[in-house]
């Protein structure tokens, strides 16, 4: 049995896969990331061993990571490694989008608006979504949060940035 190192897909469900090796994709991803860091760290002075400059460690690690990525790609090119799962972007879009909505609204409109807005938006990420339920739940949850964070914990969170 090959190493099934994917987390999250437990018993009862399985996801479709592309016919590409997961390790191959992962390796390419790491190479890309290390290239980015190398590019950013390159102009920094390396210094010497006895007086290491800001650049030395990032560059070294980026190179090591790139080598690791290449090895991973090679492993991925062998037959028999796990396949790459398909991407489902609805989930990330709405859930993370909800977080972004919160970030954008919290200072400009306050928690009273940001709360329900972000929660409803995030809820769209689930396939089970009912408008009325989501809106009512979001508003109740927001009220609860206001009581908890603002009243009980005295945190300085803007509620309504109108007054």
């Amino acid at each position: 049995m090959t190493d099934n190192s994917t987390t999250g897909s437990g018993p009862g469900g399985s996801l479709k896969t592309y016919n590409v090796s997961q390790d191959l994709c992962g390796g390419l991803f790491l190479i890309a990331v290390s290239a980015f860091f190398y590019w950013k760290a390159y102009p920094l002075p390396l210094g010497s061993l006895r007086a290491m400059g800001p650049g030395m460690l990032p560059v070294t690690i980026a190179v090591m990571l790139a080598i690791g990525g290449i090895i991973l790609v090679l492993i991925g090119l062998r037959n028999g490694s796990a396949r790459q799962e398909t991407w489902h972007l609805r989930g990330p879009f709405f859930v993370l989008g909800g977080v972004i909505v919160f970030a954008l609204l919290i200072r400009t409109a306050g928690l009273a608006v940001a709360g329900p807005a972000s929660m409803v938006f995030a809820s769209l990420g689930s396939e089970e979504f009912y408008w009325k339920e989501s809106i009512i739940f979001s508003i109740c949850m927001t009220i609860g949060c206001i009581l908890l964070f603002k009243t009980a914990l005295q945190l300085p969170i803007p509620i309504f940035t109108f007054f």
Binding site: P45, G47, G53, L105, T108, A109, V113, A117, F121, L124, W131, T161, F162, F163
Partner: protein, 335 residues
């Protein structure tokens, strides 16, 4: 159906935000007369628990009572204090955001940070000096020299072999350390740490040789016998450490006190600044506050030194003092 419902919500948000902005604008001018009508935020650009933070909290307590409103400390640490000061400098100058700056943020920062986003002399409305903490030259317990004179000889002979610890770029221990080295004409190897705590730890365990730091940080260790002090950079001995000689009596031209002061962003209404300065003055006269500051080994400024004008002058003199000393000390120019 989902699409337009979402859009409706966004438009509603936008309209509400616009109304909010208009209301906000109309409220602002009324504030200056009855200042302060709500709590004031004081940004302390260092982690809570450190010397500047403690001084801020001690002084704030009484100031809050004088002003009739709470002064709330907000810690915004980072980059030697410049992150917090940058944020405070850009805050709305309505008198409800002020900051506690110190020798590093408002004296040495321009020399150490080429991309500094504020100018200590022109981007602030000075309120007043709060307290200074004198600097001590401390060393590990088993360092051979027995007093300052022997230390100077030793340091000059050791040259690069001496290990001089400091708590990171732009920290008080850094700039005062660089100053000491330039006064003595020595070039030891500088060992950076993230904060005084780790540096003291290594000094106690004997890994590093010496350091210059504020009395608040080192007094307990000296009293407990974990490290030893060669001198204190004050004109007179400190009551907290009566056995430590001053650099003045030993003939060393090294007088440094890490001063901490309150600033407001440029453009803060003068009524607010004056009220703050007055509250600070009363706090520094209050016996309990004074006692707390003195317990720490702090130095309370005299009446003449407490005014906004005196602070502005201090900033300018400090900028002039630190810039030549620190040029090239941070290694920003090595390429």
């Amino acid at each position: 159906m989902r699409g337009w419902e979402r859009e409706k919500k966004t438009t509603m948000n936008r309209t509400l935000t616009a109304i909010a902005a208009l209301l906000g604008l109309s409220v602002a001018p009324a504030l200056a007369q009855n200042y302060p009508t709500k709590s004031v935020t004081m940004i302390v650009p260092f982690a809570a628990g450190g010397p500047t933070d403690i001084i801020a909290r001690i002084v704030n307590e009484h100031m809050s009572r004088v002003l009739g409103q709470q002064i709330v400390v907000e810690n915004v640490a980072g980059a030697g204090g410049t992150t917090g000061i940058t944020r405070a400098a850009g805050a709305t100058p309505d008198g409800y955001t002020i900051m506690m700056g110190h020798m590093g943020t408002h004296g040495a920062a321009p020399a150490l940070y080429p991309n500094l986003r504020y100018n200590p002399a022109t981007d602030f409305a000075p309120v007043g000096l709060a307290a200074g903490t004198p600097i001590l030259i401390v060393a590990r317990k088993n360092l051979p020299p027995k007093d300052l004179k022997e230390f100077i000889t030793w340091a000059k002979a050791q040259g690069e072999k001496a290990n001089h610890a400091y708590a990171g770029v732009a920290s008080v221990s850094h700039i005062t350390g660089v100053l000491l080295n330039s006064v003595l004409g020595i070039k030891p190897t500088m060992i950076p740490y993230t904060g005084t705590g780790p540096a003291l730890n290594d000094m106690i365990s004997g890994q590093v040789d010496y350091m210059t730091d504020q009395i608040v940080n080192v007094v307990a260790q000296i009293q407990g016998g974990n490290i030893k002090a060669y001198a204190i950079a004050l004109p007179e001995r400190s009551p907290a450490l009566p056995d430590v000689p001053t650099t003045k009596e030993l003939g060393l031209d090294y007088q440094v006190s890490a001063w901490n002061a309150i600033f407001a962003p440029k453009g803060t209404p003068p009524e607010a600044v004056n009220k703050l300065a007055d509250a600070l003055d009363k706090a520094l006269d209050d016996q309990k506050t004074k006692d707390r500051l003195l317990e720490l080994g702090g130095v309370v400024p005299d009446k003449a030194g407490r005014t906004p004008a005196a602070l502005q002058k201090l900033v300018e003199t400090e900028l002039a003092r630190w810039t030549p000393v620190l040029k090239g000390a941070a290694g920003n120019d090595k390429k």
